[in-house]
């Protein structure tokens, strides 16, 4: 009998039962909840007169709507304030633990899960947010769900799910200078497109992945949804165990040893078969930047935007619309393009390593006058750590200001909106039209590329400084 993949091992262990000719009933180990996609689900429970089945397997935080300045004061935006308050009321009514605004553990849901040691290998994890795939970096099955499904999990701790196909993406070799995990994932998406992994659960493997830190791995799994994947995952190894050990909710003592022993069994067996395998070379990847209005429209920073003729005929209308929105010409070089805003943060690149990389780059340099920079830590713990390591001071000396944690300009539900027509180099995950504010023009890139751009005031290859 052929061996099993990492995905299959976890999936099979969590199937409660299977509907005849239909989906599986999948047991969920951990359910993360936030203010935007949960109110209608809690209302559904109330209408049905039922409780949250396992409040202890549920954890809530407020992140999407919250301001990144003056968090100690009431939220100014009425609708945001109402939604954040609603979450607190719902959590109280249904007994769900809440790390709300100003709680020391508050932060972006996909940042706090891992940093608190809640996210662990072998788990099934869901949240009403597509970037739940982030948690797959620990070797867990983690994916985003809609609000009806949030209600399902609150009510039953299970989900009806069709088993997705499996894909393995191997990236082998050494990364070049100035190339980081964000570039790897933007590169993969540029190669296979935003629907390239639809219907699949992706395992990222290969030496380039193995050599990454946990935080860098999270950046890759985070954006697996941008290639259409149901989720992304990376086999747990010593790097994973080392990261989890000692964290708030990590197993302790004998429990720890037992857990690690189990986690060691999780990686895909050598003879496991995937429905699809792709191979990329790390040496082919350079710092990446997007030029269009979906994350698949990315190129190496030294390259030019494709010409009209280079675009497949069926996609030309979409490409043209994209170019009009960005006000770019096909064939344009990206380097040297004018930029107005730089955003560092989000569940993609708002962790301490991202702030460290940005700070190390700008240390002793000065922010360009034409750039407005928003540097938003992913959580209060990240903020505190940045403070402790002197990162805030380095940033301030270089003319940057660090704000308070939250999702911020990634989706601009709070006041952090890029003004219409302005260009932003953003370390977030989506460059859709209007994503960072109505009419905002987003170019996705790594924290290093964002740092180089913040210093020069225009799109700049970070390797020029290294």
């Amino acid at each position: 009998m052929a061996g099993k993949t990492l995905f299959e091992k976890i999936w099979d262990k969590h199937v409660v039962t299977k509907v005849d000719g239909g989906p599986s009933v999948l047991y969920i180990d951990r359910h993360f909840v936030h203010e935007v996609t949960s109110p209608q689900a809690f209302a559904g429970l109330r209408d049905r007169g039922i409780q949250v089945r396992k409040p202890e397997k549920t954890v809530a935080t407020a992140d999407h709507n919250i301001p990144t300045l003056k968090q100690d004061q009431p939220i100014q935006d009425e609708l945001s304030r109402f939604q954040v308050n609603k979450l607190a009321l719902n959590c109280e009514e249904f007994g769900v633990p809440l790390y709300g605004l100003n709680h020391k553990w508050n932060g972006i849901v996909h940042v706090i899960g891992p940093e608190l040691g809640i996210t662990k290998p072998g788990m099934t994890i869901v949240c009403g947010d597509s970037h739940t795939s982030t948690h797959g970096a620990f070797g867990s099955i983690a994916f985003g769900i809609g609000t009806s499904e949030v209600e399902m999990v609150l009510a039953t701790q299970t989900l009806l799910q069709n088993k997705p196909k499996t894909m393995r993406i191997n990236i082998d070799g050494e990364l070049g200078k100035g190339v980081v995990s964000k570039d790897i994932v933007l590169y993969i998406i540029s190669q296979i497109g935003t629907g390239g992994a639809t219907g699949y659960f992706v395992e990222f493997a290969g030496s380039a992945i193995r050599n990454l830190s946990m935080e860098a791995r999270m950046t890759i799994c985070n954006m697996s949804i941008e290639m259409g994947a149901r989720g992304g995952m990376i086999a747990p190894d010593e790097t994973t165990f080392e990261y989890i050990k000692g964290r708030e909710f990590a197993p302790k003592g004998a429990e720890w040893d037992k857990a690690v022993e189990e986690w060691r069994q999780l990686p895909s067996d050598a003879d496991a078969a995937f429905d699809k395998e792709l191979v990329f070379k790390a040496s082919d990847i350079e710092p990446m930047i997007t030029y269009g209005t979906n994350p698949g429209m990315g190129i190496g920073i030294s390259k030019s935007i494709p010409t009209f003729e280079e675009i497949e005929k069926s996609t030309q209308a979409t490409f043209k619309k994209s170019m009009q929105y960005m006000d770019f010409e096909p064939g344009d070089a990206m380097i040297g393009k004018k930029v107005d805003y730089v955003f560092i943060g989000s569940c993609t690149n708002g962790r301490i390593e991202d702030l460290r990389a940005f700070a190390a780059f700008v240390k002793g340099k000065k922010k360009a006058d034409n750039i407005t920079a928003w540097i938003v830590p992913g959580s209060h713990q990240v903020e505190a750590q940045a403070e402790e390591e002197g990162i805030r001071q380095i940033l301030e000396e270089a003319g940057f200001e660090m704000r308070q944690p939250g999702c911020s300009a990634c989706l601009a539900m709070n006041d952090d909106k890029i003004p219409e027509g302005n260009y932003a180099v953003s370390t977030s995950n989506r460059n859709f039209e209007g994503r960072q504010g109505p009419g905002a023009r987003t170019m996705l890139a790594s924290p290093l590329t964002a740092a180089a751009t913040a210093i020069t005031g225009k799109i700049t290859d970070p390797r020029d400084f290294l």
């Binding site: 262990k13 409660v16 039962t17 509907v19 005849d20 000719g21 239909g22 989906p23 047991y27 935007v36 996609t37 109110p39 209608q40 559904g44 049905r48 999407h64 609708l79 945001s80 109402f82 939604q83 609603k86 009403g128 947010d129 597509s130 739940t132 985003g144 769900i145 809609g146 609000t147 009806s148 499904e149 209600e151 399902m152 009510a155 039953t156 701790q157 299970t158 009806l160 997705p164 497109g193 935003t194 629907g195 639809t198 219907g199 259409g228 979906n294 069926s314 996609t315 209308a317 979409t318 989706l411 601009a412 539900m413 219409e420 989506r430 859709f432 039209e433 209007g434 994503r435 109505p438």
Partner: protein, 197 residues
């Protein structure tokens, strides 16, 4: 809670021949602050549909009286991006009962099915034929027959069959919802929990 039943639908269509329509276009994030499921239809495709002052943009299809109907026909990879179910609520809230495309993003497809909105995946060629037929004659009707899993350009075809999970098909035909199903097997879930704790 029961969802709307879907058995057979014959309707004119509203074409959006754009690829990779993401959920931020279907319903921009700033409209996600509501705490009920109602009212999202008013902001469906908000940034394509209204100008800065909130006036309808004449060139967008939802503002063009030539086109109307209960079927939205869209370019490939429809619904990519965020998991927001608000996208399905907005489309259903506007009055659509089905979305036809040659490719759907996973989460959007699930969300639609959970709200009685039928995603119908057709071949690229069939989609192209639909777009052309609608462009030629906006009064063109399309029939979607869920029982027989068949979509037909009226009156004389062509037609194509489409896939749907048998369980989801039963739910749509009968208006069943997943939570009712799962609540009914709570004993089984409890037994599993005991065996796996």
């Amino acid at each position: 809670m029961p969802i709307d039943k879907f058995v057979k639908l014959e309707s004119t269509c509203v074409p959006v021949p754009i690829e990779n329509v993401d959920t931020d276009q279907i319903i921009p994030a700033r409209f996600l602050k509501a705490t009920t499921r109602e009212g999202f239809g008013d902001n469906l495709f908000a940034d394509w549909r209204y100008d800065k002052s909130g006036n309808p943009k004449k060139d967008f299809v939802l503002n063009d009286p030539t086109y109307s109907g209960k079927i939205l026909v869209a370019g490939q990879n429809f619904g990519s991006g965020s998991s927001r179910e608000h996208a399905a609520w907005a489309i259903a809230g506007y009055g659509f009962k089905a979305v036809v495309s040659s490719f759907f993003a996973d989460i959007f497809k699930n969300n639609s099915l959970n709200n009685g909105l039928l995603p119908v995946q057709v071949s690229k060629e069939f989609l192209e034929e639909l777009f052309q037929a609608i462009e030629k004659d906006p009064a063109t009707k399309v029939e979607i027959d869920l029982e027989n899993q068949k979509i037909t350009l009226q009156p004389n075809g062509p037609s194509e069959s489409f896939d749907i999970n048998p369980y989801k098909k039963k739910c749509m035909l009968n208006g069943f919802d997943d939570i009712d199903y799962l609540l009914n097997i709570s004993n089984e879930i409890e037994t599993w929990e005991k065996a796996n704790s």
